[in-house]
């Protein structure tokens, strides 16, 4: 047990901290607007050129070969600095681990550097209107025709889908197979003929998602990730990382808790903070710390050879509900100002947080997983 940063880790932290301070681009437009999307892509390039876009990747693909602890330190510094969010998150967090695990050498060499540099921004095309948390219900068909697959069907809730360059999809290549069988993991260029994208506006009217309509859309069979028909297994490996470490690093919540604390301090300066709200702020701050230390413990296990399995569901429930409550507390602190949209990052953050208990498997499903696979309760009566 050693809970101090090593000399090398301190140097690493100082390096990224200094770099972020010096290169902070200031506030840029929302990544859910056309201009903001491109501004965020620019920021990805700035990060990439300095070797800070994917520090945990091998040097050959633009990374720094950071270990998990360094990556956690990087994330803490990244979010605390207040630089823009990562428009590349879907690709880097969800797709990249799958490419590293299942991609051919050619696929790795082609896709990973372009993902790291922001040349390819990826969106996720898994959900369908009739298959939300239940991925095995996927119906979008991809029928082999020569060197291509021909896609027909519909995807929805495709984050960043309105402006992304590529989409990683799960499609049904064997229409006769049921449920988990006959699925294939396929990488689809967003400008493919026969693919129509229609933005879905979030509660606040911003197009955070898209629907995808495939109408005889041809995609090269070279873009299958893993084996044809093995899409379920390939996807589930990534679902593990979606629920686990890679998508929601503690740095994000530590930074949010810090900002919440600052908000409370600024209200205290007026002499009017309510003890009940102060208590909520402190609780959020403590829970962010709890998430941090649980993650460091998890990371040590992973570095020692443990695998992250159903335990990932514990973190998913914890961070997603912390995120909602943290932002709800901020809105209560803001009082009458909470409902006013202009320059209200907390309201924006609240709307974003509300999706946390829903996506990547609802928290109801996560609790089932915890009960059945972590605690060993009977599956079904």
């Amino acid at each position: 047990m050693d809970l101090e940063l090593s000399q090398r880790q301190v140097e690493f932290r100082d390096e990224i901290r200094t770099w972020l301070t010096e290169h902070h681009p200031g506030r840029i437009a929302s990544m859910d607007t056309p201009d903001g999307f491109e501004a965020h892509r620019e920021w990805e390039k700035v990060l990439f050129d300095a070797g800070w876009s994917v520090p945990a990747w091998p040097v050959a693909y633009g990374g720094r070969d950071c270990d998990l602890i360094e990556w956690l330190i990087y994330e803490e510094e990244y979010w605390l600095s207040g630089v823009p969010g990562r428009v590349s998150a879907n690709g880097v967090s969800l797709l990249a681990p799958t490419i590293f695990n299942f991609g051919s050498r050619q696929q790795q060499d082609h896709f990973l550097p372009k993902m790291a540099s922001g040349e390819h921004i990826w969106a996720q095309g898994w959900s369908e209107p009739e298959a939300g948390s239940d991925l095995a219900g996927i119906k979008t068909k991809a029928i082999r025709d020569g060197d291509d697959f021909v896609l027909n069907g519909q995807k929805t809730w495709c984050s960043r889908g309105a402006y992304a360059d590529w989409i990683f999809c799960i499609v049904r290549t064997d229409p006769d197979a049921e449920r988990h069988r006959g699925l294939t993991y396929l990488l689809v260029p967003a400008d493919s003929p026969g693919l129509e994208r229609r933005p879905i506006n979030r509660l606040d009217g911003e197009p955070s998602f898209a629907e995808l309509f495939f109408d005889d859309c041809r995609v090269s069979a070279d873009h299958v990730l893993g084996e044809e028909g093995q899409g379920w297994g390939v996807a589930m490996a990534a679902a593990g990382s979606e629920r686990g470490l890679s998508l929601r690093s503690p740095g994000r919540f530590m930074a949010a808790a810090e900002r919440l604390t600052e908000l409370a301090r600024s209200i205290r300066a007026d002499g009017s903070i309510d003890v009940r709200l102060r208590d909520e702020v402190v609780d959020a701050w403590i829970r962010a710390q709890a998430y941090r230390w649980q993650t460091y413990q998890l990371a040590a296990g992973l570095m020692g050879g443990d695998e992250i399995g159903s335990e990932a569901s514990l973190g998913k429930v914890f961070w997603s509900e912390l995120d909602v409550e943290l932002h709800a507390t901020a809105l209560r602190l803001l009082g009458d100002r909470a409902e006013i949209v202009d320059d209200n990052d907390w309201l924006d953050g609240y709307l974003f947080a509300l999706s946390g208990p829903i996506y990547a498997g609802t928290n109801e499903i996560q609790r089932n997983i915890i009960a059945e696979r972590v605690l060993g309760l009977p599956r079904r009566g």
Binding site: D204, D336, Y359
Partner: protein, 329 residues
């Protein structure tokens, strides 16, 4: 003692419910978001026509002399339909204040030829200010009547609130109007709307989860979803009687001193705010991603829930008022 609505209560409520269903469907609510000064077509006049605007005005002033108990059920319907007009402000707060002050402005307000909103704490941030002709405003310990003011629209999460910053204007005092009573009316009116919003969120969610399939079964057949919605049903069940009871207190000053009235009104708002907060949270969770979209109508009630749960004092603030009333603060 008989805690029961009369048939007339029910008929009046049903008439208004039908009117809203007809004239203020979700599309009309959405349309109101596009501008800060458009009205829902034909609604205000129709409300005047069936006597809703005049309901609380005294009979000698041309009103119906109806009581608050009847009217809070109308305000539930305002919440249920997410009506983007300042009916509560106009008919439940402003008109009684104008009547108390024997204001010249009463007649046109009753007739519906004017629309009056309220600035209950004198903050200058006023719902529906741009579509209204006048504002009943808190000034020191009393109320005043403000016209010919300037507005700057504020973008709020619930755009049907049409909040605006108000400046300038011509202000005359409303001597004889009870500012504390007006505040309690606004709080009670917001509580009643919260109940209606919560009922709508629950109805919409029950319908959705009964239909939507996941893993081969209706979402609503899962026990976790059932328990979410049972909790909402319980919250509404026990908040609503406090709203009716508070309305009775407001309607009967002879047996309810201002402190008792404030206690009853604040109990109602505290529970109604908590109920609608729970309803909003569970409605979104049970809908999943679709509830999170602009195109789907659920958002009309979600945003109204967030706004009205906090408006005119959130649950915490009203528990503090109860604390004072029962000797704990």
């Amino acid at each position: 003692m008989r805690f029961e609505f009369t048939d007339e209560h029910d008929m009046f409520r049903n008439t208004v419910r039908d009117l809203f269903a007809d004239r203020c469907p979700p599309d009309a609510v959405r349309a109101s978001w596009e501008t800060t000064d458009a009205r829902v077509p034909d609604l205000w006049g129709a409300l005047a026509e069936i006597g809703v605007l005049a309901a609380l005005a005294p009979e000698e002033a041309g009103g119906l002399g109806m009581d608050e108990v009847a009217f809070v059920r109308i305000l539930e319907e305002v919440g249920y339909a997410a009506v983007p007009e300042p009916l509560m402000e106009h008919a439940f707060v402003a008109i009684p204040a104008l009547a108390e002050a024997r204001s010249d402005a009463l007649d046109s307000a009753i007739a519906g030829s004017t629309t009056i909103t309220i600035d209950i704490d004198g903050s200058g941030t006023v719902a529906s200010a741009a579509i209204a002709d006048a504002i009943v405003t808190r000034v020191d310990d009393g109320l005043a009547f403000t016209t010919q003011y300037d507005t700057t629209a504020l973008t709020t999460i619930d755009q049907s609130r049409r909040l605006a910053a108000v400046k300038g204007g011509v202000t005359v005092g409303l001597d004889g109007a009870d500012a504390a009573l007006a505040y309690d009316r606004a709080v009670l009116g917001a509580a009643a709307q919260c109940i209606g919003i919560a009922r709508r969120l629950l109805d919409a969610t029950v319908a959705y989860v009964g239909d939507r399939q996941q893993f081969g079964k209706p979402v609503g057949s899962y026990q976790a979803v059932k328990h979410h919605l049972a909790d909402v049903r319980i919250a509404v069940e026990f908040a609503a009687p406090l709203v009716y009871r508070a309305a009775w207190s407001v309607a009967h000053p002879e047996t309810h001193e201002p402190l008792a009235r404030a206690r009853d009104v604040s109990m109602a708002k505290a529970q109604a705010s908590d109920a609608v907060d729970l309803a909003a949270r569970k409605a979104l969770q049970c809908h999943g991603a679709i509830g999170y979209t602009f195109e789907y109508d659920l958002q009309l009630w979600l945003k109204r829930a967030w706004a009205l749960s906090a408006a005119y004092g959130d649950a915490r603030r009203h528990r503090d008022r109860v604390a004072t009333a029962i000797g704990l603060a």
